[in-house]
């Protein structure tokens, strides 16, 4: 998966090359994110990375209220 991610990132950079520095930075940031996320998935690094945690905390309890009301 990591190999796939890296190759795909290079390809995506080649398919549409960003024109300004801002686009370049953003593109590279996202691509690095991709590689990072796939590293995390493939190697189980940072097992505590929980994007959903905060969402769950805030909205999960809100939804529970909805269910309770009904």
């Amino acid at each position: 998966m990591i190999a796939m991610a890296i190759v795909a990132c290079v390809v995506s950079y080649l398919i549409h090359r960003p024109t300004s520095w801002r686009e370049r930075v953003l593109t590279w940031a996202i691509l690095l994110c991709v590689v990072g996320l796939s590293l995390r998935t493939a190697l189980h690094l940072w097992p505590n990375l929980d994007v959903l945690g905060p969402l769950d905390l805030v909205f999960g309890s809100l939804t529970r209220v909805i269910y309770k009301v009904l």
Partner: protein, 371 residues
């Protein structure tokens, strides 16, 4: 380059696929957790979600014309607050798309490609929507239009074939357990899947008339809830109480079809049909994401991030929803209020803020007819 436009028919088709794509897979399952016999009432009630979105969209368009949500946020709240809110919206789209892609990976992996790694399935899917989004909104809409007749043939045929196993008594007695399970069951279809219609706010720039937006919303809400109701009713009628423990009840409904010795085990076809509609859904969300990023970061075109963004959805789907149960947990407990906040509250607040701003600038001056 002439501005790309989509017709109201195309918008309706796009919205229908946006909701039905995964809705048809997940909603019967979610319903089965709350109610079995009265599931069809819940899906009928779910149109409330779409109608809420329509109301907010009406308010929004009245105040902010045909501007994209992210664009409007920047104009109304200024570069800092607007960007922050815009990022919130973009993140919402991204995480929804991750959920959808993860659902697709699980669905395909669970049913027909058990041994293929999920990331390969996800990658195949991401190439499709990356390409479609790269080609622009017109292409996306047309692809939806092209798929529509195919599904419009396959769907009814599957439903007709499974009707022979349907037992209407499985739905009797109506409301035996009171309204509470029915209402609870309606929460997810209305507040999670209904809210997905809110994606339309990112498409406003591409639609021809403002009336057509509201009309399309109402129409697709109606169509989706009718289709879902039919599907849920038949699924319950065919599979009975098994709905409460099956992961993919509609799939099971299709799996029971057997006509003679020749026509059976056609569930793979159903998986294929669902797959192609989910591709559209992914594309629709991803296009909205790309346009949002374009507004927030001032990019030259939505194409800039079409491919990297698709890759991030691919990697994100697997990283965020690592465990299988996370998706369902997220959909059932977090998504309803999360989506309501993002799709209803933010645009409504934006519209009100725009109204307030307008009033402040016109204070003292003779009142003009804004609408």
């Amino acid at each position: 380059m002439e501005k790309e436009r989509i017709s109201s028919t195309q918008l309706v088709v796009l919205l229908i696929w946006t909701t039905l794509g995964t809705g048809i897979v997940t909603i019967p399952y979610v319903l089965g957790l709350f109610t079995v016999r009265d599931g069809w009432i819940s899906t009928l009630l779910s149109s409330a979600g779409g109608l809420l979105v329509t109301a907010v969209a009406w308010l929004y368009i009245r105040m902010l014309e045909m501007r994209r949500l992210t664009e409007a946020l920047l104009r109304t709240f200024g570069p800092v607050v607007g960007r922050a809110l815009g990022l919130w919206v973009v993140f919402w789209i991204w995480i929804s798309n991750c959920t959808v892609l993860r659902e697709l990976e699980l669905f395909v992996g669970n049913t027909i490609l058990p041994r293929t790694p999920e990331y390969v399935i996800g990658f195949l899917a991401s190439t499709t929507f990356a390409y479609a989004v790269y080609m622009g909104v017109e292409v996306l809409a047309r692809t939806g239009e092209f798929i529509l007749p195919l599904s419009a043939v396959v769907g009814p045929v599957l439903i007709m074939l499974s009707l022979q196993y349907m037992d209407i008594h499985e739905m009797m007695p109506v409301l035996a357990d009171g309204w509470s399970p029915v209402l609870r069951g309606a929460v997810v279809p209305a507040l999670a899947y209904g809210m997905e219609f809110g994606i339309v706010l990112q498409y406003l720039h591409a639609v021809n008339h403002r009336q057509s937006v509201l009309g399309s919303l109402v129409m697709s809400t109606g169509l989706v809830s009718v289709v879902l109701t039919i599907v849920v009713a038949i699924t319950v009628g065919v599979t009975g109480h098994s709905v409460s423990y099956l992961n993919y009840p509609v799939l099971e409904m299709v799996r029971t079809i057997r006509v003679g010795r020749f026509l059976e085990r056609i569930d793979t076809l159903y998986v294929m049909a669902v797959m192609s509609t989910i591709f559209i859904k992914l594309g629709a969300f991803h296009y909205a994401w790309c346009e949002g990023m374009k507004d927030i970061f001032g990019l030259s075109s939505h194409r800039t991030l079409a491919v990297p963004g698709a890759l991030s959805v691919w990697a994100g789907s697997l990283a965020v929803f690592a465990k299988a149960g996370t998706v369902e947990h997220f959909i059932i407990t977090d998504v309803p209020s999360y989506f309501v906040f993002t799709v209803l509250v933010i645009p409504a607040v934006t519209a009100l803020a725009a109204w307030w701003k307008q009033r402040r600038t016109h204070r003292g001056a003779p009142r003009r007819n804004v609408a």
